[in-house]
Symmetry: C2
């Protein structure tokens, strides 16, 4: 096991009806800015439920944080918050709304150009406290300290992280996910799945607990993902998916082990240039990535084949191939297509994708920091 | 899954050499009281390593916190801390030292009789901050908010808990466990094992992640426990055991599921009246407890037989019996005996044990709060 530091201060309020408890977590007299996205939280009544729980506070709203939240939009919220002397924020939505709110709470008190937080990794010295009410299990943003923000002007997806942007609390009420469109549920399952493989399918590090936790989360997604599509109001299924997605990227399974993240980096360019959903990029790229890197990931792929897919007999290479095939079939069973061509993207798109990777300095990726542009190109080619 | 709130603010510093990092976690100028036990941390050099890391602070020491720490001893530390205006404590040791230190940090600023914290569950309104350097993986006290303190006068083991007694940080350096006596290593493994079963072997609650995490921890103990006895300086083995014992009782696997704890309650009386090590009591009682309660725990026992012991074929009752037998054999393989008679305790001791349970109000135990004195007596009888 590698040395690690683990500290996760977010308080989880899990279960049906927990929105009613949020006022216990927010200082009396706070001026609260509720942030949300395209309005589904208005339609479903979740926003009203939140506002009812906050009836004793002064509450403002900022709507319109888009999927892949943009710097341009978020800076409007920063201006509103500064103008209205907001001292608490509450993100109501999925990973994009929470990621965007993380940027907002860092930018409000930032002395200087907030853009530098993203472009120059400028140090964040203070933030406005915030909580979240999660409506879409997928990214784990509700219990971690990272965020991805897109600059519309240049179509760059930029990452920042700070221990000061953990949510103070997050409400995880599984019933709030009942009305999600199939595509969002499916994307969330695929996203969580690949978050886990980025921290698990690397090389052995004598980390038995982290491995078994990762395998437990993968097995849960495989069992519950398809059921979530068939039985949208099955509370047990939605509970298991929601908690799994949070644990997939809250620091726990990645503590003390090598991490990859190459699939994510190659995926970001697909979203930037072709507008694919984040999870679609992962479903397309992971099978190809594992195929191209099957030698360096051999031992963990065999463990994955055994413990996640029950493949224990016969030739090692056959087992690995079968595990990759089952992974692809699982994504397809979630109704997420796994070939670039399914999204109308052909080989002719690859040079531009590779050029983007080069421009972003993505030339030494993966758990060995040696996954180069030539091999990234191979992955894109295999993914067509 | 049941509703739950989960908030664990302890920062884990895991790995070889991490004691050197503790000064980054303690405010400059703090007056620190180091607490420890019988002196093994002096012999092993761990205390010196800690003091070297704290060379820029004013440091006091309090030695002699015993296994099953007593109120009488701990109050001496409270007096010292008050007299010397201590503003940070550092527990260096195992669960007893950390539990004891939790009581000390709560008692120092307590307005009133500190005994009430234990006897009357008096509310703890503030505490002195503290950290820990763990030398014995077993109890999970390094990352939870509970403690057990014994009153020597009456031989009562009393429990208290407060969100204010989470350690600010805990150092988990697996090399610090290399010199532990076999008995302590073995006890730690058994203790962690039963912490897990208390939260896992109850009834199904549609909590797939919690179940799989519990199973992953049990499997790790089963694999690594015996190896730890054979290869005391195997870093990977000690790392896995140390991290497992922490995760066994830090709130994670118990969130959203029913919990039992009857084995612990019956065990406390064995320690109080006969001086058995805590883990010895658990090794004796768990097999008998599972036998007596095999009907109410049937579904989870079958799952345990399948996923932890690989028992999938044949008659259900045979599988359950086999799983209980393997559990006993595992404890024995850790050199912890599993019959009361192995410790020289016969049936004649049972009336007094039952009377203690009655006196402590332990008349409705377990996940259904209906495990009564008559059935507790059955467990003691079966354990002879």
């Amino acid at each position: 096991m590698q040395n690690f530091t683990l500290h996760n201060p977010t308080r989880i309020l899990f279960g049906q009806g927990r929105i009613a408890d949020i006022s216990q977590e927010i200082p009396a007299g706070a001026r609260i800015l509720i942030t949300y996205g395209g309005g589904s939280v208005v339609k479903t009544g979740t926003l009203n439920e939140v506002k009812a729980a906050l009836k004793d506070y002064t509450v403002f709203e900022f709507a319109g944080i888009e999927p892949n939240p943009t710097y341009e939009t978020l800076m409007q919220a920063v201006e509103l918050a500064r103008r209205e002397q907001i001292d608490f924020l509450l993100a109501v939505g999925g990973g994009s709304v929470i990621d965007g709110t993380k940027f907002i709470v860092a930018a409000i008190p930032f002395a200087g150009e907030p853009w530098d937080i993203l472009a120059k990794h400028a140090e964040i010295k203070s933030t406005i406290p915030f909580g979240s009410v999660l409506t879409l299990p997928a990214t784990g943003s509700e219990m971690n300290s990272g965020a991805v923000v897109t600059r519309r002007a240049s179509n760059d997806k930029l990452v920042f992280a700070s221990p000061l942007v953990y949510p103070l609390f997050s409400v995880l009420d599984p019933t709030k996910t009942y009305t999600l469109p199939t595509r969002q549920v499916a994307n969330g399952v695929v996203d969580a799945f690949v978050h886990i493989t980025e921290q698990y399918l690397t090389y052995p590090a004598d980390a038995k607990v982290q491995d078994r936790f990762a395998e437990g989360l993968l097995l849960t997604l495989i069992e519950e993902g398809p059921r979530a599509l068939q039985e949208p109001e099955n509370y047990a299924v939605r509970s298991n998916l929601m908690w799994t997605a949070t644990l997939a990227l809250n620091g726990l399974i990645g503590a003390g082990v090598p991490q990859d993240w190459a699939t994510h980096m190659l995926g970001h360019e697909l979203t930037a240039l072709h507008g694919l959903d984040h999870a679609q990029t992962l479903a397309v790229l992971l099978p190809a990535m594992l195929q191209v890197r099957r030698e360096e990931k051999r031992e963990k792929l065999l463990q994955y084949a055994d413990r996640v897919w029950g493949l224990r007999e016969g030739d090692q290479d056959v087992r690995i191939g079968q595990a990759i095939k089952y992974t692809r079939q699982f994504f397809e069973s979630m109704q997420v297509s796994t070939r670039l061509s399914d999204y109308g993207i052909g080989s002719d798109a690859i040079p531009a994708l590779v050029a983007q990777l080069q421009r972003h300095g993505m030339t030494a990726l993966g758990e060995h920091q040696n996954f180069d542009i030539a091999r990234s190109q191979q992955v894109y080619e295999l993914a067509v």
